[in-house]
């Protein structure tokens, strides 16, 4: 039982902390977002140069065999600086799937290109009306000679508009809500029949709705086994949950620092407002929430790579619940303690607020995951 980072992780952490502090100022970030590209080429290649894009890939494909704890270190720092690069989409989600179920040829093609920064990818899974139910897939892939014809709608695809290729889940058998019968395909974003509505997101990310209309996908682009994708989708979402929970912890800590700084300097009635006991206790509770969330984000990162499904899903749902609630508390109170300044777009706190809020909506909100844990209790008692 120990909570220490390895020396390598500590180094990674330190260099990322420096990078975010020195190279990713709030002002720079704003210009990146205003450019509307979903990724800043210089930043992305800097991340590639740091080896970050390959860290969690197998050594054979240029990586370091990193795990979810490494991802936690990365995402926590991204959270502190609100880095909006497509790391989650490309490396954690799409890259993670290819790493976990791709064949060697696919790994060679995609992981290497991701690692070098040449290629961006995204994971198109959620569908309109599915809400957070992972098995609810109506997009179909119909076998047609040596192709699959993919048709359907995907929604809330993180950085879907910036991806060169999309990993798409589609139904190859079964009914709309069946867990069996799902398969994964790598689809070119530029393929005929792919239509992407790319939106800015409130949090500075990009997010897309994507429709597939009889898109012809070569059978070679089937990722993993036919009909067997569901457990891999679950695991990938769990990796995503662990990643955004770590990001939330970084953003909570940044919010707490910004707020603490603000209430120590901002004066009302002749004294710094941090002298008011009500704000002190509120700040103490924000601190407690961040610490509790950090503990759970560690649990999530330590469990997300596991293949023991029930235990893993329970730990991840516990984490997403607590972090979602903690993020909401810290986001709301952080703005409240900033007073009027907190609701202006010029304050970093406002942007931390927005990201913390949307993290709760990603991969299932606190209510959704509390229900998972709760129903797990029922199953355990049966």
């Amino acid at each position: 039982m120990n909570f220490d980072l390895t020396d390598e992780q500590q180094m990674l952490n330190d260099s990322l902390r420096r990078f975010v502090t020195n190279e990713y100022s709030f002002e720079k970030r704003s210009t990146f977002i205003d450019a509307g590209k979903g990724s800043d080429p210089q930043t992305w290649s800097a991340l590639a140069d740091m080896g970050l894009l390959a860290f969690t890939f197998p050594e054979a494909f240029g990586g370091l065999d990193g795990n979810a704890v490494d991802t936690m270190v990365v995402m926590e720092n991204f959270g502190r600086g609100l880095v909006v690069e497509p790391y989650l989409a490309t490396v954690v989600l799409a890259g993670g799937l290819i790493r976990d179920v791709g064949n060697d040829a696919q790994k060679d093609e995609y992981l290497t290109a991701i690692a070098s920064g040449e290629r961006k990818m995204a994971f198109a899974h959620y569908e309109p009306g599915a809400r957070y139910n992972l098995g609810q897939v109506q997009t179909t892939a119909r076998k047609d000679g040596d192709h699959f014809m993919v048709s359907g709608q995907k929604t809330a695809v993180i950085h879907g508009g910036q991806a060169d290729q999309l990993v798409v889940s589609a139904r190859t058998s079964g009914n709309a809500n069946d867990e069996r019968g799902l398969s994964l395909f790598v689809v070119d974003a530029s393929a005929k029949g792919v239509k992407i509505n790319d939106y800015a997101a409130h949090d500075g990310y990009r997010i897309a709705d994507i429709s597939f209309s009889n898109v012809a996908v070569n059978a070679d682009n089937l990722l993993g086994e036919l009909d067997q994708a569901f457990p891999h989708i679950e695991k990938t979402i769990d990796l995503g949950i662990a990643a955004v929970c770590a990001e939330a912890v970084g953003a909570m800590e940044a919010m707490n620092e910004a707020t603490l700084d603000y209430i120590k300097t901002r004066k009302q009635f002749g004294v710094p407002i941090g002298k008011f006991q009500v704000l002190q206790h509120r700040m103490a509770d924000m601190f407690i929430q961040a610490e509790q969330s950090k503990s759970m984000a560690i649990l999530a990162a330590s469990t997300a790579d596991s293949n023991e499904k029930a235990e893993r899903r329970n730990a991840l749902s516990m984490t997403k619940t607590l972090v979602g609630q903690g993020a909401r508390y810290v986001a709301q109170e952080g703005v409240q303690l900033h007073g009027g300044m907190g609701v202006t777009d010029e304050m970093f706190a406002a942007h931390l607020h927005k990201r913390l809020t949307t993290i709760n909506l990603l991969f299932g909100d606190a209510d959704h995951h509390l229900a998972q844990v709760s129903d797990g209790l029922l199953a355990a008692s049966a």
Binding site: T155, N177, D209, Q332, G340, V343, H353, L361, A371
Partner: protein
């Protein structure tokens, strides 16, 4: 004790509803019900329509062109307007500066300013807060020096909501530095077209332009625009804050929003079922429904209390803003991941491009972010709790 409306009140409600059916323009209704971006034009058009009916000022006495309605009638009117999708009337003129002018202004001022407020021709904004003086309002520094029959105003105001549209601003200004900070404050009405006034937008966290900074550089204001006595502005400001808090309960609007939220919960899908079948979501909806009912009854109790609303009105401000914020939070969570996309163009009525999810998802997150202001502006909820502790509980 009778919690039913009287037959007369019910008849009044029917009249209001009929009027709204007949007169509320469709485009305005649609903008409000879809929670799209509001415009100066829609607010003014609607005020004009109300004014023509004689309903321009539901809270004013008849002598000034108001309706002379009882508090209950005012509430019925507000509720029906909100449920029909009428835009909120502009508080700054009707409910804020007007009561001050009526109570403390002279006859000349009443004649000069009230009609423009009533007709909606004059757009008013508020010049209270300054950088560095938020909750601690009395520390304000924007100065007005008397020179002959004018005041020369210098300084800055901030958090000026909708000031970009304004014809007039009512300001608290410092006319003296003697005595306690509260003692040297005056209440001044300033023409926004005066030379030396500069309005700069502040962008809110939802990306919208709703508030402003207003700079005064040697602005020459006729002394006849002073309300009441010089250095007595603090008294008028406190009077006004009392008025503001009662309105902030916002029950009519929250009821309209709750009604919409229930529709949304039926329309949004949660996989194989409508979201309303999700017990956890529905329980939160039910909880909020209960809290809103308690707030509504408390408002009615306070407004029908013969002793009038005292500092107890702070309860209404606190609960009203808390409930409003939770409503917008639930609306956002109801639309889930669809709420994440930020499509500013889609907040216009003529938008026909793509949008993420349903029409309810479009404004959901932006509104949630924007509404964080509710517990901050107009006397933060921390200040309101201080008021309860000190003025009601004597702590």
């Amino acid at each position: 004790m009778d919690l039913n409306y009287t037959p007369e009140q019910e008849a009044f409600r029917a009249d209001v509803r009929q009027f709204l059916d007949d007169n509320l323009p469709d485009d305005i209704r649609e903008r409000v019900q879809k929670r799209l971006r509001h415009s100066k034009d829609m607010t003014q058009r609607w005020q004009k329509i109300l004014h023509e009916k004689g309903w321009g000022a539901s809270t004013w006495p008849e002598e000034f062109g108001g309706t002379g309605w009882s508090p209950i009638e005012q509430i019925i009117f507000e509720e029906e307007c909100a449920l029909a999708g009428a835009p909120r009337q502009l508080d700054f003129g009707l409910r804020m500066v007007a009561p001050v002018i009526m109570t403390f202004g002279n006859d000349e001022q009443k004649k000069r300013f009230l009609p423009g407020i009533l007709s909606g021709e004059d757009w008013w904004c508020q010049g209270y807060s300054e950088p560095g003086s938020g909750s601690d309002l009395a520390s304000l520094r924007c100065s007005a020096k008397r020179e002959g029959d004018h005041y020369i105003v210098n300084g800055q105001k901030t958090w000026t909501t909708l000031g970009q549209h304004a014809d007039w601003i009512f300001c608290l200004v410092r006319t003296s530095n003697d005595g306690k900070p509260q003692q040297g404050i005056s209440f001044l009405l300033i023409d926004m077209n005066d030379p030396g006034i500069d309005v700069k937008p502040i962008i809110m966290l939802d990306g919208e332009h709703e508030i402003n900074e207003v700079y005064f550089d040697n602005v020459k204001v006729p002394a006849e625009n002073l309300i009441g006595e010089e250095n007595q502005g603090w008294t008028y400001a406190k009077f006004l804050l009392g008025h503001e808090r009662t309105g902030l309960a916002n029950v009519g609007q929250w009821k309209a929003l709750m009604k919409r939220l229930k529709v949304v919960a039926n329309e949004e899908q949660d996989g194989q079922r409508p979201l309303i079948e999700n017990t956890r979501f529905r329980d939160r909806l039910a909880q909020l429904d209960i809290e809103l009912r308690a707030l509504e009854l408390t408002v009615l109790r306070v407004l029908t209390d013969k002793r009038g609303p005292g500092p107890q009105a702070s309860i209404l401000k606190i609960r009203g803003t808390e409930i409003g914020q939770k409503l917008f939070e639930l609306l956002m969570e109801a639309t889930g991941q669809d709420a994440i996309a930020h499509i500013p163009d889609a907040l216009e009525l003529d938008y026909s491009g793509p949008r993420a999810g349903s029409i309810d998802a479009t404004p959901a997150a932006g509104d949630y972010f924007n509404m964080r202001k509710l517990s901050i502006f107009g006397g933060s909820n921390e200040i309101q709790r201080n008021i309860i502790a000190q003025l009601v509980l004597g702590l």
